[in-house]
């Protein structure tokens, strides 16, 4: 076995996986996350850091475009796999890892990708403006009108007022749908001033209802997403374990005990808008109650769009994560 083969085999032992949650296919995402946790594989935060792209379900036409952009943005060696049924998730991931170390296939893939495709691939988290029809020209104060379409497709949104009362140039940006911890198919089209959202539209791609699941498990899933977004890696991991073992298992008790003691987490969450609660701390408590059988809060897309305006990207992500696993009412767009 040559040196490159050795390196490739080692690399395939712990691939980083970009999960694509597909609306209406929640069980597949759960299964995929469980496999990753079980094998100690990492979930990639962006296409640039991913080796395997796993679609948890067959993506619909709108989501498929985003998947294509992400696929183009993966540096390679790369593998794309789809799981359309629960039984396919584990084999899909294992085949994906195996094909990563298949050097002839990877070399052919690298050759077939044209160089411009590799360089012009935009990040789905920062991809060009879609959907808005805005006037991109603005007076530059120098007596000339300039079209603000910068090279690379970044689109400026003209001047927008930020929360400090400064009129700085705004940037049109789409957040999601492939950000880690974001619900399947949710995209936030925003206008950013610095890192503050001055305008937001919620877009649901390929909207489809999720199949039924025990409310306590959905609550644990919501907790996992919220904790992940709050950057509590261990907590999120334990919440997913609890989801896998059921609401009455020891991991759930362990998680709830840790949550009660999580003062720093509550400090981080207090005062932030939440679906149907006073703030995210109250939301956290409601989710904990829901694990015990109380009713789940309901997310509302129009309210989400209102809530995130004026927040910075990170905080907005937390608020989105709080909406993530919940059944959404009200059409976004």
């Amino acid at each position: 076995m040559g040196l490159t083969e050795r390196v490739a085999h080692a690399a395939a032992r712990r691939p980083h996986v970009l999960l694509v949650p597909v609306p209406g296919q929640r069980p597949l995402r759960w299964a995929a996350e469980d496999v990753l946790d079980e094998r100690g594989w990492a979930r990639a935060a962006s296409p640039a850091g991913a080796d395997v792209l796993l679609c948890c379900g067959e993506p619909g036409p709108e989501l498929a475009d985003h998947v294509e952009v992400a696929w183009e943005a993966m540096p390679g060696p790369r593998v794309r796999v789809v799981a359309t049924a629960l039984a396919e998730v584990r084999p899909a991931l294992l085949t994906g890892a195996a094909r990563l170390s298949d050097l002839p296939v990877q070399r052919r893939d690298a050759r077939d990708r044209s160089a411009p495709a590799l360089s012009a691939a935009a990040d789905p988290a920062a991809e060009p403006e879609v959907g808005h029809d805005m006037d991109h020209s603005m007076d530059m104060g120098m007596g000339m009108d300039m079209d603000m379409g910068l090279p690379g497709g970044l689109q400026m949104a003209g001047r927008v007022q930020d929360r400090d009362g400064l009129r700085l140039e705004g940037l049109n940006l789409s957040l999601g749908p492939l950000l880690p911890g974001w619900p399947g198919g949710l995209r936030l089209d925003v206008v950013l001033s610095g890192d503050v959202l001055t305008r937001a539209d919620v877009v649901r791609l390929d909207r489809r209802p999720e199949p039924g699941a025990p409310p306590s498990l959905v609550a644990l899933d919501a907790l996992a997403m919220l904790l992940d977004a709050a950057g509590w890696t261990d907590g999120a991991l334990r919440a997913r374990r609890a989801r896998a073992t059921g609401a009455s298992g020891p991991p759930t008790q362990d998680l709830l005990r840790r949550l009660r003691r999580a003062r720093l987490l509550r400090w981080s969450l207090r005062g932030l808008p939440a679906p149907g609660s006073e703030d995210l701390v109250a939301h956290l408590d409601r989710l904990v109650d829901a694990v015990h059988g109380a009713g789940l809060p309901v997310a509302e897309d129009s309210r989400l769009a209102r809530d995130v305006v004026g927040l910075d990207v990170g905080t907005a992500s937390l608020v989105v994560a709080a909406h993530s696993a919940l059944e959404a009412v009200g059409a976004g767009v």
Binding site: P151, G152, R163, D164, G165, G310, D312, T315
Partner: protein, 196 residues
């Protein structure tokens, strides 16, 4: 001089020439590159080179302090540049000069006068030698004979902090705490981490 001294001096000279070239060259690049980020960090490199020159002059503390202060300053500067300038990345070619020729002639004139003075003036002989602990010298200086200078600077810095905040901020304590200054928690656009 022993051979070792000669070698040491040659090394110092080479290092000095390199640092001087970097300081001046990157200083010039500041006004030659399109990208604001490159301009700012070219200036930062120029400062780091000057810090290196100070180290050659046995000014250990001041040399490193120049690096600390200036790199911090440039990083903050970059933020403001990108916030306030059009075309910060230099992606669109545009000229940002005025009076280029006149500015150049003034600059060249200044250089000729200053450098000529530096070479022609008969500088005084060196008096005394550097103390064993150079840092201690400056420490005792600002806490002793030159204390008034530093106290003055302290007062100016305090004034600067206050007036810069007043100038730059659109909100006052009345916006935050209400007319009677009793609103709790304060009405901030984003809540901080301390307090109720």
């Amino acid at each position: 001089m022993t051979p070792d001294d000669v070698t040491a001096e040659a090394v110092t000279t080479v290092v000095f020439v390199l640092l001087a070239l970097v300081a001046v060259g990157f200083g010039f690049l500041v006004f030659r590159v399109d990208s604001m980020a490159r301009a700012t960090f070219a200036l930062a490199v120029s400062f780091v080179a000057v810090g290196g020159i100070l180290l050659l002059l046995d000014l250990d503390y001041l040399g490193v302090v120049v690096v600390v202060m200036m790199v911090m300053e440039m990083a903050i500067m970059a933020v403001f540049m990108i916030a306030y300038m059009m075309n910060p990345a230099g992606l669109m070619p545009m000229s940002m000069y005025h009076d280029k020729a006149r500015a150049m002639s003034v600059a060249v004139g200044t250089f000729v006068v200053l450098a000529g003075g530096a070479l022609l003036v008969d500088w005084p002989e060196r008096q005394g030698a550097p103390p064993a602990d150079v840092t201690e010298q400056v420490g005792l200086g600002i806490m002793g004979s030159h204390m008034l200078v530093m106290m003055g600077i302290g007062a100016v810095i305090l004034t600067t902090i206050v007036s810069a905040l007043v100038l730059a901020s659109a909100r006052s304590r009345y916006d935050r705490l209400g007319d009677d200054l009793k609103t709790r928690p304060a009405r901030d656009p984003i809540r901080g981490g301390v307090g109720p």
